[in-house]
C-alpha cells in the first residue's frame, strides 16, 4: 500500500512537471472570483462605490473587521493574477521571439497572424514560449 502511495505521488509529481499550466486566470474568471468571494460584503458595505480605480478594494479594507479574510485574500490573489496576465500578454511575443524566427518566418504581426502561427506550431515551440502563451491566456 505504502509503495503504491509513493508510486502515485511520484506519478502525480511527474505529471505536474511534464504538463505546463497557466499561472494566471482569465479576466472573466478574476471578476467571477471577486463576485463569488466578496459579493455579499460588497453589497453590504460597499454598495455606493464602483470597482474601478480600486474603490471597492479600498472599501473592503475599511471594513476588514467584518469582511471575511478569504474575500480579501481572493481579491488580492486575482489582482496579482490580472497583473501577471497583463505582463505575460505584453511580453509574450518577446519571449517567443526565437520560436517566431524559427517557425513563423515572414509572418507579419497584426490580426493575430503570429499567434495563429505559434499555436499551429505549439508542439514544437520552446517551453518558455508555450508558458508565456498560456499565462497570456492565448492558448
Amino acid at each position: 500500500m505504502k509503495k503504491q502511495a509513493i508510486g502515485l505521488a511520484a506519478l502525480l509529481l511527474l505529471g505536474t512537471a511534464a504538463t505546463t499550466s497557466a499561472q494566471t486566470v482569465s479576466f472573466a474568471e478574476a471578476g467571477a472570483v471577486i463576485a463569488r468571494s466578496c459579493g455579499p460584503s460588497i453589497e453590504r458595505f460597499c454598495s455606493k462605490v464602483n470597482i474601478g480605480n480600486g474603490q471597492v478594494r479600498q472599501c473592503l479594507q475599511q471594513h476588514q473587521d467584518q469582511v471575511p479574510s478569504a474575500c480579501i485574500m481572493d481579491y488580492d490573489r486575482v489582482t496579482a493574477s490580472i497583473a501577471k496576465r497583463l505582463q505575460a500578454q505584453q511580453g509574450a511575443f518577446k519571449v517567443c521571439n526565437a520560436s517566431i524566427r524559427e517557425y513563423c518566418p515572414g509572418v507579419k504581426f497584426g490580426d493575430a497572424n503570429v499567434l495563429d502561427c505559434l499555436l499551429t506550431a505549439r508542439k514544437v515551440v520552446g517551453a518558455s514560449c508555450k508558458q508565456a502563451l498560456l499565462d497570456a491566456g492565448w492558448q
Partner: protein
C-alpha cells in the same frame, strides 16, 4: 478559442462585408443572454476596412440635442446610426444598482470577458465605443445622464481593473433614445450596453 480566433481572422480578412452584415443580426438575437468569450471575440472582430469615424462625442451631441429639443433621436434614419449598425458589435447586459451607475458584483465577470477579448492579439490594435442604453422608465434627460455615467463606469472598470488602455476606449450614453424594442419602451431588454469596434488605433 483558437478555432474561433482563426474563424474571426478569416472573416475579418476575407469576408468582411458579408460578416458585418450578418453579425449584428445574429448577435442581437442573443443580446440578452450571456455571451461566452468566443462569441465576444467573434462579434468584435469583423471590422470593415473603412471604419466610419464614429466618436462618442458625436453620439453624445446627437442624443443631447434630441432631448433638449424634445424631438426623437432619429437613429433609424441618421447616417451615423446606419454606420453604427455596420460596425462589429456585441450587446451585453450589465447589472447596475437601481438608478445608479454602480456595477453590481454579478457583472464583474461579464466585464472581465470583454477585457479578455479586448486584450486578444486580434483586437489589440483597435478602439472601442461603449454605449449605455436605458429603457423608457423615467425622464429622457435623467436617462441620458444615467446611461452616460454607466458607460463611463464600464470604461473605468475596463481600464483600471483589467488594464485596457484608456486611449482605446470611449463612452457614450444614449439614454432611452435608441430603444431595442420601440413598441415596448419599458421592456427591461432595452437596458443594455453595446460595444462597437470603431477602427484601428
Amino acid at each position: 478559442m483558437r478555432q474561433t480566433t482563426r474563424l474571426a481572422a478569416r472573416l475579418a480578412r476575407g469576408a468582411a462585408v458579408a460578416a458585418v452584415l450578418a453579425c449584428p443580426l445574429t448577435l442581437e438575437a442573443r443580446a440578452q443572454t450571456n455571451l461566452n468569450n468566443a462569441q465576444i471575440l467573434q462579434g468584435l472582430t469583423q471590422a470593415t476596412d473603412d471604419e466610419p469615424a464614429i466618436t462618442a462625442r458625436i453620439l453624445r451631441q446627437m442624443a443631447q440635442q434630441a432631448v433638449a429639443n424634445n424631438v426623437p433621436l432619429t437613429t433609424d434614419k441618421s447616417t451615423i446610426a446606419q454606420k453604427l449598425d455596420n460596425l462589429a458589435q456585441i450587446t451585453v447586459q450589465i447589472q447596475f444598482a437601481l438608478n445608479s451607475a454602480i456595477i453590481r458584483p454579478e457583472s464583474y465577470a461579464t466585464i472581465g470577458s470583454i477585457a479578455d477579448a479586448l486584450h486578444h492579439p486580434i483586437l489589440v490594435g483597435y478602439r472601442f465605443l461603449v454605449v449605455g442604453n436605458t429603457d423608457a422608465t423615467g425622464s429622457r434627460k435623467h436617462n441620458l445622464e444615467l446611461s452616460q455615467q454607466r458607460a463611463d463606469a464600464i470604461v473605468e472598470a475596463l481600464a483600471t481593473v483589467y488594464g485596457v488602455a484608456p486611449a482605446r476606449l470611449e463612452a457614450a450614453g444614449l439614454g432611452q433614445e435608441a430603444l431595442q424594442t420601440p413598441n415596448d419602451p419599458t421592456n427591461p431588454v432595452n437596458r443594455r450596453v453595446q460595444i462597437f469596434n470603431i477602427g484601428r488605433q
